[in-house]
């Protein structure tokens, strides 16, 4: 008898938990769950693909420890995880070159997981889910539900979208940057400033948020002809950079060390965009593999980014056009264009334009096939251990 009462109590408690969970879940729109599911599905398929590709192309077994994820721990990822584990040091060649928020977030999560690589993946996974939701909601302000969903789809399958899943800063940066613009569009300017600061603590491209948010404020002023004191929150965005300068000061004794280091650790310096593009053309004469990776692909994605910039000014709200222009100039206004395919990921207005174009099912097919075929190629090169942007 007692058992029966206990069972009934248990069932009631369970049903209360289920009801509460359902209530919580129902507060989030179904489309948000859809884009979150897409981001996880893309991750799982990509991880499986990485293993199969490594087996076939390298004829190599998986590394013993964290093998599934370890094959993605290459290039910058190694630096971020080292920073998360050991912190910044003046002794190393990189000093405080890398922005701090991603390694610090990884360190915080690693305190729970006990594994830095897994922690890096968790940070990127959560950030990507947040970025996907924020992008969808942002686009729903101006466009149809279908265009918004397709834009997220094209972000998730972009040829360099593997960087969104691994221990790189791209997904965390996009989550903060898109969140910041979304907050500005919703007139929650304190949040726009706060998220903007976090975004600049994640990558240098956060600087582009200052003109972007300023243009949004100007646009709102132009529309309403009323001053809004909240717009001053834009001034909070550079605080993220302030943290970076403080970090440099703390590590090396000079807040501007990283800026001076650019000449020593990087092969590139500021120049007119055509200088870098001309250099990419010259790289077409290298060995076939290099000609393709540091020549043709850098060139294609730079030109794709430029086309997106131009069309954005014609078709999109100024806030998106400024974001696209600023980010494009950051990676192309240099003497040697490097990683343009990866940096193009950050020009999210490109995915809005893809969303427009793909209203036509033919173009939807073309963009999807192009994106995923080259995602396969670049991610195969990356897990192989070769540089892929």
């Amino acid at each position: 008898m007692a058992g029966g009462l206990f069972d009934r109590y248990d069932v009631n408690e369970t049903s209360t938990v289920v009801a509460a969970t359902r209530k919580l879940l129902s507060r989030v729109p179904k489309d948000d769950w859809l884009v979150v599911a897409w981001s996880f599905v893309a991750k799982i398929v990509l991880i499986v693909f990485g293993v199969v590709s490594l087996h076939i192309n390298n004829n190599a077994p998986l590394p013993a420890h964290d093998g599934l994820l370890q094959i993605w721990n290459r290039w910058d990822s190694v630096q971020y995880l080292r920073l998360a584990q050991s912190g910044y040091s003046a002794a190393g060649p990189w000093k405080a070159w890398f922005y701090p928020l991603f390694p610090w977030s990884t360190r915080a999560v690693a305190a729970v997981t006990g594994d830095y690589l897994i922690a890096g993946f968790i940070v990127s996974a959560v950030a990507l889910a947040a970025a996907a939701v924020a992008l969808r909601r942002l686009l729903c302000l101006d466009f149809s539900r279908e265009i918004a969903l397709r834009a997220v789809w094209f972000l998730l399958i972009f040829p360099t979208s593997y960087f969104l899943h691994i221990a790189y800063t791209e997904s965390l940066f996009l989550a903060f940057a898109i969140g910041s613009i979304f907050a500005a569009r919703k007139n929650i300017w304190w949040m726009a400033g706060g998220l903007g600061a976090l975004s600049w603590m994640t990558r240098a491209n956060g600087a582009v948020l200052v003109p972007t948010l300023a243009v949004e404020a100007a646009y709102q002023f132009w529309k309403g002809r009323r001053w809004n004191w909240q717009w001053l929150w834009i001034c909070a965005v550079p605080l993220g950079f302030g943290v970076y300068l403080l970090l440099n000061w703390h590590v090396t004794g000079n807040p501007f060390t990283a800026i001076h280091m650019r000449k020593t650790v990087s092969v590139t310096s500021w120049a007119w965009p055509w200088t870098g593009i001309r250099e990419a053309f010259r790289n077409l004469h290298r060995t076939p593999s290099q000609a393709e990776m540091v020549g043709a692909q850098e060139l294609y994605f730079s030109i794709l980014g430029l086309a997106c910039v131009i069309v954005s000014w014609i078709k999109l709200r100024p806030v998106y056009a400024v974001w696209a222009t600023g980010n494009w100039l950051l990676f192309s206004a240099v003497t040697f264009i490097e990683s343009a395919p990866r940096y193009t990921l950050l020009i999210f207005p490109l995915f809005i334009l893809f969303g427009f174009v793909s209203e036509n099912r033919f173009w939807n097919g073309v963009i999807t096939v192009w994106s995923l075929l080259f995602l396969a190629l670049f991610s195969a090169v990356f897990v192989h251990g070769t540089w892929a942007f």
Partner: protein, 381 residues
Amino acid sequence: MTEAETEPITAKTRLGQLVRSLPADDWLMIGWVLAIKFLLFVFGAKAVLVLANKRLPNDIEWLRIWSYWDTQHYLDVAKNGYGKAVHLMAYPLYPWLVRAVTWLTHDYYFSALVVSTAALIFAAILLRRLASLDFSGQIAERAVWFFLIFPTAYFLHIGYTESLFLCLAFGAFLAVRKEKWWLGGALGALATMTRANGLALVPAFIVEAIQQWRAVRSWRWHWLWIAAVPLGFCVYLLLNQHVSGHAFGFVDMRREIFRTSPDWPWVGLREAYRNLRRDPSDAEMVGGQELFFALLGLLCAVVSWFKLRPSYATWITVTWLGFTCVTFVQSAPRYTLALFPIFILFGLAAQNRIWNAVITIWSLLFLGLFASLSARGWWAF
């Protein structure tokens, strides 16, 4: 008005009539086929540059990177006829068509691409129309989409028989579904002249005839056209007789070259499972992937019996048994392309947008992987 002024208008009108004669959805299929072919060929070239660090010719010759494995045999037969026993692995219709087109192009390899392209365009249109008989336009369209992006879909574009065979098989199915049994029989015969799998049309059509009989409860003499299907295979047997002096000469040839012989399906699957212990690359290609696609085919064969028309279920079951009832399962991922009810099931599953994403991402990533191997001349099914 002068004659010269009226001529362009006539040409334009004719073009307009041609465009209007096909539904817009068929034009979409044609667009997808050509766009995917273009992207796949460019992708293959890029994969050779990046992964093999190999320079490619600047002119159109770079298209020859896909000329490996069976393509060589088909081209050899097209060029020189059936001279050697090994040529018997090639059924005659594809090389004969390539030879015929070469009268125009003067290049056997490019003729093979032309035949495959034309066949694939028809295959895509016919599959859409076939699927539209039972399902919505959207499901039919998605079925073609998944067919065109399947992980081994590059075989549909290059000098292989897959696109021609599937074009004829889809045409035969559509014809019998529309009760044009003479056409079904004729296209079926051409299908058995293209690949051995064509014989699976016989039981599939018998089941279709039974289903039609159950609907009307009266005998139709035109069902006897089913008997025409094996005629194409008879042409192949005659060729065997001519080349090796024995109508079933291909049986010995296959045993020698492929080292495989008929057996229960679990024997071949067990062997594929054992191959997982080879070195990583072999374990993946002749173990993991063979096993995965064989199991995918089995799963879809089972589901087809519940969800699809019995003739489709018969086709998938018999075709699946055709490549798994052997001592050594080989090229299952490629043969799975012929199990077209899979694409209808994918189309049904993809009504849910998560499954749509899963199947699309899986298909295209692995299409990229396998195509990059094939373009480098590696064996990829």
